[in-house]
């Protein structure tokens, strides 16, 4: 722990105060009338309607229809979390919040602006630390700003809709190639009804040294959010993309099902950081996968705090020698939550390396699951892979599961996996309390220490937000 003890208690008081307005800050519902939304339920007509509204070329409509056919023909997954609460007929598949993508903050409708003011987006944007902010309000990108120098360098940071219109060759080359519609039921669903997300292209050799950011929200009750993100980092480039999520609290269950595809070309490096804080009624079923070419590095920093059920296993497929994959993952499961998260590392070339570090915390009957795969194909000599999973249980109703899968078809490799499950140590607790901390503060401090190795990898302002969110989660039951 870096912070001195008295600062810890100060922050603890501050968090208690913050908790009072949690519902207002993160759980409010803006009574804005949506400009357009489709009927509930999913039919071919709805898919055609979405495509028509977006004025899409025929090839994209065809992809959507293929996705729809596969979605309808595929049974629900029978593993992971409990998906029986999802009723696909109750979901609105497309909600458009404002007529067009805005280019200046002044042009964003006032009610949407208010929402983002309350989330603190503009402040973050104004901060010298931050770069471009693509803010997604419901299903449409409404606000984008990108520092001028990147545009000059040829960096593209657009909504995928804009990319389909303005850069069709790039989109056609990569869209659905890393995660084809047939990959799983929810990838098929996303392919059929995707809306919003981000499209990023970084030209060869360009280093985008300030994180690109996007905030996502689900606002309309029962509105699914199906954003589609495609990131292409050309040879020798670097980009860090940050995705944060909050959502209002509703009585009806909501579905969020994103697809994120990333191409990391020779010598490039991409870091994708997520702080997932959906409200506790959201099903968060996301497919994220990157392909890494020679000497490329892909890093997923993935924190899952919110949602009712999250099933998300960011993957790195290492296709050429020297590629490296890394996942740093935090999951916090409180009352009524199941975080089923993990990672897949696929070694399809010699001398590729990967590392997974996963930390999970369960309390109040929450369930956290690590589910991961490390795969080595024949002939991929010199592969080194390491997985470390630690789980912390905060009370006797909590549950923790670890399901690592290792499949190795080559002898010249070194693969290691370690995991442990434990509860907050009595001795640690006793020591901290003997130093004057009350039990809640002491547990909070232990939890912070537990996740610190991952939090320190986040940009500073996210690390602060992350610590606050964790402590808010802790507050949920202790108080």
């Amino acid at each position: 722990m870096a912070r001195p003890v008295n600062a810890e208690t100060d922050q603890h008081d501050e968090l208690r105060a913050l908790r009072g307005d949690y519902a207002e800050k993160y759980g409010f519902h803006d009574d804005r009338v949506n400009v357009f939304e489709t009927k509930r339920g999913l039919t071919e007509d709805i898919v055609r309607e979405i495509s028509a509204i977006k004025d899409e070329p025929a090839w994209m409509l065809e992809k959507r229809l293929e996705g729809l056919r596969h979605f309808l023909a595929t049974p629900m997954p029978n593993w992971g979390g409990d998906l029986t609460g999802i009723n696909f007929d109750e979901i609105t598949y497309y909600v458009k919040a404002s007529a067009q993508a805005e280019t200046a903050w002044e042009d964003v409708p006032d009610d949407i602006k208010r929402t983002f003011d309350r989330l603190g987006v503009p402040e973050a944007e104004r901060s010298a630390l931050l770069g471009g902010v693509g803010a997604q309000y419901d299903s449409e990108v409404v606000y984008h700003s990108l520092k001028a120098q990147w545009e000059e360098q040829g960096v593209l940071f657009l909504s995928p809709e804009e990319a389909v219109q303005n850069h069709p060759d790039l989109v056609q080359e990569h869209f659905g190639k890393i995660i084809p519609y047939a990959d799983n039921k929810f990838a098929a669903l996303n392919t059929a009804v995707w809306s919003g997300g981000s499209f990023i292209y970084v030209p060869p050799g360009v280093h985008v040294d300030i994180p690109l950011q996007a905030y996502f929200r689900i606002n309309t009750a029962n509105a699914g959010q199906f954003e589609r993100t495609l990131i292409i980092a050309d040879e020798g480039s670097f980009v860090h993309y940050v995705e944060g999520c909050t959502a209002p609290i509703y009585s009806k269950d909501s579905l969020h099902s994103a697809v994120v595809e990333i191409v990391v070309k020779r010598g490039a490096r991409v870091r994708y950081s997520t702080i997932q804080n959906w409200s506790n009624n959201v099903y968060n079923l996301v497919t994220k996968r990157a392909v890494a070419y020679a000497d490329a590095t892909m890093e997923w920093v993935d924190a899952n705090l919110g949602s009712k059920l999250t099933m998300k296993y960011p993957a790195v497929v290492m296709l050429e020698p020297g590629a490296h994959g890394e996942v740093l993952s935090i999951a916090f499961a409180g009352a009524g939550q199941h975080q089923d998260a993990g990672s897949k590392m696929v070694h399809a070339a010699p001398n590729t390396t990967s590392r997974i570090i996963s930390k999970s915390i369960s309390k109040d009957g929450g369930r956290s699951t690590y589910r991961g795969l490390c795969k080595v194909y024949p002939g991929c000599t010199g592969v080194k892979a390491n997985v470390v999973c630690d789980a912390l249980l905060l009370d006797d109703k909590a549950r923790s599961d670890t399901y690592p899968y290792m499949e190795v078809e080559e002898k010249q490799v070194d693969i290691g996996h370690e995991a442990s499950v434990s509860r907050v140590g009595e001795e640690q607790l006793f020591y901290l309390m003997s130093r004057g901390l009350d039990e809640d503060a002491a547990i909070g401090m232990i939890v912070n220490g537990f996740i610190e190795p991952i939090v320190k990898e986040l940009p500073m302002e996210y690390a602060v937000e992350m610590n606050r969110l964790i402590e808010l989660q802790m507050e949920g039951s202790v108080g």
């Binding site: 029978n78 593993w79 024949p378 789980a391 249980l393 905060l394 009370d395 006797d396 109703k397 909590a398 549950r399 923790s400 599961d401 670890t402 399901y403 690592p404 899968y405 290792m406 499949e407 190795v408 078809e409 080559e410 002898k411 010249q412 490799v413 070194d414 693969i415 290691g416 996996h417 370690e418 995991a419 442990s420 499950v421 434990s422 509860r423």
Partner: protein, 437 residues
Amino acid sequence: MSSLHGFTRDSVVALSAALAEPDWLLAKRLEAFTAFEQTPYPDTRSDEDWRRCDLRRIDFDALADIATPNGATASAVTAADDAVGTATFVDGTLVGSRLNAELAAQGVVLTSLHQALPSHGELIRTHFMTHCVQPGEGKFTLLHAAFFNQGLFCYVPRGVQVDGALLAQVELGGGSLLHHSLIIVDDGARLSLVEEYRSAADVTGLSVPITEIIAGRDAQVVYAGVQEWGPKVYEVGVKRVLAGPGAQVSLCTGNLGGKLSKEFIGAALAGSGSSVDLLGISFPAAGQHLDQTTVQDHRVANCHSNLRFLGAVGDKGRSVFRGVISVHPEAQQTDAYQKNENLLLGDKARADSMPVLEILADDVKCSHGASLSHLDNEIVFYLMSRGLPRGEAQRMMVAGFFEPVIEQVPVESVRARLQHAVAQRIDNLAASHGGLL
């Protein structure tokens, strides 16, 4: 050999009649058979336990010749002078047994299930596929409960200490063998027992064995089960211990033979203060698929379990380990550990390792580790620098890799046979490659 063909109701009735079984046992078989017929064979696609074990290549109907008592004798009963009692089964029939007279006088029993029925019927009825392994667990437990042969019955009465070890040998001459072992070690008693399963190299067969070990309060049990089936035998088996309060059990498995073998190996920690060690070695090569699914099932508080499975994989061999530590909500103060180590030695070798934790109590200490790697070249070169030929250095290292588990096997002659079997595999590998590196 005489046999009954087909997994049919007629076969169930005829088998039960040939074994002169009481009505309750026939009824139990028929009940299992009805459920067996209604249950499909496990599907690789939908059943996680079977996802890595493809049963499609097995023609169950062709293998459904169920062995019945036929007067066969053991073709090659291996010397086991160091055991204090032996029982030998050929094609589902007890063909010979001996037991130290002192032990027999103390009430220790080492015989077949069916020979024990008149004297120990109630004990068998209480424990045979009732609370340790249950017929309804799956397709193969149902198959076993409907068609089990004359299996082993071993009983150690309350407080009796068996010094030395007992040995059961099981031989398959062809067709289907459904060998059952019911081992009951009563309160405060102590037993060491080894089971060896084998068949000749040219025998085609199906083995569906179940071993149930019931360890009473403060009982101490050391069990080792070693299979060295020939290369044309398919196997799906269960080995499980039910540990009572304070019981201390070591269950060791050696999985070496067979074309395809899947074993479910489990410890049910059902009594407070019980402690179970699960140990295993496997060494698939030349197109073998050896698959082991383990469970450390912590049902009550204050128990301890420790698993160590070691696997080496030779050319075209496939090894699968899936191990679960399951801690029930009541099982506070659980201390459980699991380690799976794999050594990949051959070309086209494949090892899958899935160590699983399912923890529903919070005051626990549970951890696991798994590794998959190759022989450490540096150590081989070091040994060579000390004058050992390369092949000898490699053989030493692989033997050393397995030794921590092999040394736990209680019968000296069985340990020697295991060491020999491992050495033979290393030699075969080395011969086909000119070295393992």
